[in-house]
Symmetry: D5
Subunit: 99 residues, 10 copies
């Protein structure tokens, strides 16, 4: 089951630099593990914004909430969620999707 999730980061202005770097590293590790599991299907940077647009593939809302609320960045995120269904015009085998 696919969800489009838009995340924009509201980074505290007084964040300690050292703590900030550690948080970024933790976020990267967390995200890459979920990408390898196939949960975090697509991850794009919104050009010009400290944020991303992603597509998650989960089995339930509880799992979606589990994944998002455990993001190291979660306390600093504004999140918008759009449930995605299959589009009737979609052709089955598009060319290999770029990243």
């Amino acid at each position: 089951m696919l969800f489009l999730v838009r995340m924009e980061v509201d980074w505290p202005k007084d964040m300690d630099p050292e703590a900030g770097r550690a948080l970024v590293e933790a976020e990267r590790t967390y995200s890459q593990r979920l990408q390898r599991y196939g949960k975090w299907r697509h991850l794009w940077r919104i050009a010009g914004v400290f944020g991303n647009v992603s597509v998650f593939d989960v089995d339930s809302h509880d799992e979606l909430h589990e994944i998002l609320s455990n993001l190291p960045f979660f306390p600093y995120l504004n999140i918008e969620i759009t449930p995605l269904a299959r589009h009737p015009s979609r052709i089955d085998a598009p060319p290999a999707a770029p990243p």
Copy 2:
């Protein structure tokens, strides 16, 4: 160059049914041709809404405008465009992306 494009259809209430079906068919044909060319990379239905979220892969803004403004649905579309860049945390070879 990737763009996330959200389209919601403001379908005229007094649209002639016959003309409506023809327009839907034309939109499907137009979209599937672009999907086969690899221009229209992803196409998902927004659950509960007469609209879609798509990812386009184009070479210029002129090409993006060309593609969108020639959609048969274009006169009835509210369009939001987000330029996508590569995210630093993206792993290179995610599992085969579902549709």
Copy 3:
């Protein structure tokens, strides 16, 4: 899988009264069938508004879209969808929920 769905009706001012009554009847029949199937779990009227707040229990986004887009009122609906997960503070057996 539960979704909170808020629907507000944008009823055409020039709707033919007879056609309007038929549409309302069709919407009632459609909704009550889904309520009996357990798909349409809760249905409340928003006081003072031609609209409702509902909770749907579906197995996929495709099913949610199928149900909503086939509502007789669908062409006249503004729809907001919120995916619901289990709240950690919910107690298991609340008193029998009123309608």
Copy 4:
């Protein structure tokens, strides 16, 4: 008398962890007591958001304000209230409502 209440938590970034845990515990206890009394009829987590959608069954606006303004989280809550009436299409005995 039913109210749909949407609560989103604006948690202070500099909340002391210990105080935060105590507040969460107090919120849970407070909520579960009201659920057992049948005042707090439904409680769902909004997937991906530190917040919930609830249905309260109260006898007056004063009681509703009493309940909400005494929530331990109240100083950190953005609250939206929708008065719910009986929908004319609701069937009387829906299947046992899930949590």
Copy 5:
């Protein structure tokens, strides 16, 4: 139980003048009956706007919906509803309230 209700009229530009006058008369009669019953407690014109701010005193949400949805103007109204509770600073016997 008191509700603040703000109503703004979206009057069709092509309303037949005769029908319009009849509708205004029906709305006046309907409103004045409810005022005499004490249901429609306060009724003020929003200066410069085809609309009003009112306070209704009803016994249930169903009754509130019944009253509002049967307003002759209802199909042309944008309605905002605010449930009112007793304010702790209110003194008991203010001077005779003006209209």
Copy 6:
């Protein structure tokens, strides 16, 4: 001359409790004095919100600004002002208005 005034309080999270109580007491005293003078005609709590809806009866905009800007809560208030005129459908002697 009547004004509908909606006030929502944006209470600082780090307000010293003692100072907070003193401020609340000052606000109550200030408001009750104006209620006795007949300037602050109606005062209702917005259910579920730290705020109120009020009706003021003043002789000029300067007086309105004087009253509002001297509220002890003024630095923490988001204020919306609606000028009220006499509604043509209002009947002269409604039953004794409840508080």
Copy 7:
């Protein structure tokens, strides 16, 4: 008593040209009469918009509503009203105000 009033015109696309010219003429005559009476103190065109910003000097809200609701353009106007008070920093005799 001064009010800042912003008016933007939502001119029907299918307005009969002849009727349109007559309406514009009526609006001009109506406005110029009020300017001569000193009721319509200032009248500026919003550059690039079919609308104006004005300052009215009236004795009551009823008079303000009377003036605005009898504008020939009233059915096509989106109106925003801001009550103006005397600013403590205003010097008494500014140079002759341009139109």
Copy 8:
């Protein structure tokens, strides 16, 4: 060349009272000098709001920016700017404009 400028003050809650008074005094002096030069044509208090509506008469956008960005309050201001043109219905010599 006239501009309507609406300014609302977002006054820091932790502003040192002494510094605050000095800033208010500086703002008053600055504004009154510009009023005497005829640059700051109109200055009204928005009733109930810590802000003002003004009309500036400047020769260029650079001058407008110069004036506004050097306001002592500038770091705390939310500013909205509307370019004003001559309205075709304006009569030439309105009665002496009140302050």
Copy 9:
């Protein structure tokens, strides 16, 4: 004096095709004449939207209003205007600006 002007076209769904083409041609001719006069400095298409972003160089607000309100598309335009001043960091002779 420079203005950034964003125009989005709200094209009537029932526009007669022939009349539509004539209007587009008139708009093009009007715009190109102003570009040759140096009034319409920059004109870009907003990719994916029936609209443009332009920079106008005019001597007064009256001239700006004259130019915009005489656009053949004016009745169908939503217009946003931003006054532009010289930026202190701008270098004097940037490389030849592309179109």
Copy 10:
């Protein structure tokens, strides 16, 4: 490939003056280097606002993000991005564009 980028600065109220001046200087140097390379094509001050409207000429979204996210002001910027395409009515050789 051209992008219109609107940047508004949300400058921390408690920014150390010395650090602030250094940041402004760094932002100016960074911007002027990009202007000389032809990446930062246009840079205008929004009159009355601590912000600018710019046009960037980049080869990819990654480059756009690289440029914007490395602005010294980036942590304090609200950014809006509009992809620009060639407008069909643009004449080829406008008079020498002013800065």
